[in-house]
Symmetry: C2
Subunit: 217 residues, 2 copies
C-alpha cells in the first residue's frame, strides 16, 4: 500500500535540520552541509551526480532506500530555490540542473502560481497553491501504488507531521552541533501523535533513527 514517507532527513544533535540564513550561496544554511556528510560520501549519492566511488555500507543503504519505490515528491518552496515572493519569471528551475534527482512528479508548495515545469529524466515540478492536503492528494494520485516522499525542508516536514499525515520517517542524526537554524522539533509532539522510534543504528558519520506509528493505531 502506498505510504507517505520522510526519508534521509539529517538533523544535528541539537535538533536543527538546516543552518540559519539560507541563500543562493548557502542553500542548506550556514554550516548546514555538515549535516549531510554521511550522505555525500556514499556511492549512491555520488553516482546521482556522476561521480565514481563512495562508501557502500549502512549509510549508503539508507540513501538507496530513500529513493526506492517513490512515485511522487512534495517539497517546500524554499527547498526548490532561493526565490521568495511572486515568481519574477520562469528562469529558476531548481538547484539540481537539467536532470534533477527526483525522476518523478515533484509537488512544490507555494503561495504563488506558476506553470508546471518538465525537466530531463522524468522530473516534473508542479506548483501547488492550495496547501498541504491538496498537494498530498495530487501526489498520491500521481504515485499510484508507489510511495509519496516529503522531501523537505523542515517547515514542510513539520507541517505534514503536525497534520499526522506521515507514515514513516528515517532521520539521520549527524554528530554535530549547529546551534542555530531550522529546528525540527519545536512544537511537535510526536509521542502524542502516536509515533515511536522502532530502530536505531550508528555509523561513523550518523545515527540512523526509524520512526513510525505505534502498532494498533
Amino acid at each position: 500500500m502506498s505510504k507517505v514517507k520522510v526519508l534521509a532527513v539529517a538533523v544535528s544533535i541539537d535538533g536543527f535540520g538546516a543552518g540559519p540564513q539560507q541563500s543562493l550561496e548557502a542553500p542548506l544554511g550556514l554550516g548546514g552541509e555538515k549535516l549531510h556528510e554521511w550522505m555525500f560520501q556514499t556511492r549512491t549519492f555520488r553516482r546521482m551526480f556522476g561521480e565514481a566511488g563512495g562508501s557502500e555500507g549502512i549509510d549508503d543503504q539508507f540513501v538507496k532506500q530513500s529513493f526506492d519505490n517513490i512515485g511522487a515528491w512534495i517539497i517546500g518552496r524554499n527547498m526548490f530555490g532561493p526565490v521568495r515572493g511572486p515568481w519574477p519569471d520562469e528562469s529558476w528551475k531548481g538547484w539540481w540542473g537539467d536532470n534533477p534527482p527526483f525522476h518523478a512528479p515533484v509537488f512544490v508548495l507555494t503561495h504563488y502560481p506558476r506553470e508546471s515545469l518538465t525537466m530531463a529524466g522524468n522530473t516534473t515540478f508542479h506548483f501547488v497553491t492550495e496547501g498541504i492536503h491538496d498537494a498530498l492528494a495530487r501526489a498520491k494520485q500521481s504515485a499510484g501504488d508507489k510511495d509519496v516522499r516529503i522531501g523537505g525542508g523542515m517547515a514542510t516536514i513539520r507541517q505534514y507531521l503536525l497534520a499526522g499525515l506521515v507514515d514513516e520517517m528515517h532521520l539521520a542524526l549527524s554528530p554535530v552541533l549547529l546551534g542555530r537554524g531550522e529546528a525540527l522539533w519545536t512544537g511537535i509532539d510526536l509521542d502524542a501523535a502516536g509515533y515511536e522510534c522502532t530502530a536505531h543504528v550508528a555509523t561513523e558519520k550518523a545515527v540512523h533513527l526509524l520512526i513510525s506509528r505505534r502498532r494498533g493505531r
Copy 2:
C-alpha cells in the same frame, strides 16, 4: 586539572531531558523514566541501590565513569525534591533515602536559605542562594583537584551551558520520543559557544555523545 562536567544526562530524540509535570509521584516527569532505561539496567546503577546483576558493557562504563573522580556536585532545587517555595520545614531530605548516591558535597541551587544537611555515606547538601557562579566557586573549592559534576536538572544544566562554564558533557540519547517536557536545547547555541561533538557510540539502549570545547579555545 579539575573540570566541570555534565555526565550521563539522558535526552530523547526530540531533545527532552525530563517529561512534563514533575511531581512527588513522577520525579522524572511523565514518561521521563523511559529516558533512563539504558542506565537502570547497568550493573553500576543496580549496585548503587543494593541490587545484584546488571549489564557490564558500554552503557555500564558510562555510568561508572560518571562517578569517577567527582569531588562535588551541583544540582537544581527541583532535582533535590518536589518542594517549591520557602522550605516549610527540614523534613524533605532528597529523593535518595538516608545514603544518597553522591558521596560528596552537593550544592543545591535555591532561592530559599536552609541549613546544610549531612547524610550517611559522606553526602552533604548545601543550599546556595547566591546563584550559579557562587555555587560553582564553592563546589570547586570543595572538590580540590577532583571534578565538579553538574547533576541536573535541565534548567540547571542549561544555565551552566549558557554561561560557558561546562568543560565536558556526556549525553545519552535515548531512542524515544517524549513529545513534551524539559527541553535541553532551546535557546542554547553550543556551536557559537565553542563546543563540538567529539565521539559517538550506540548501544541497544542509547547513543552516547561526547561534547567538549573545540581545541585551541
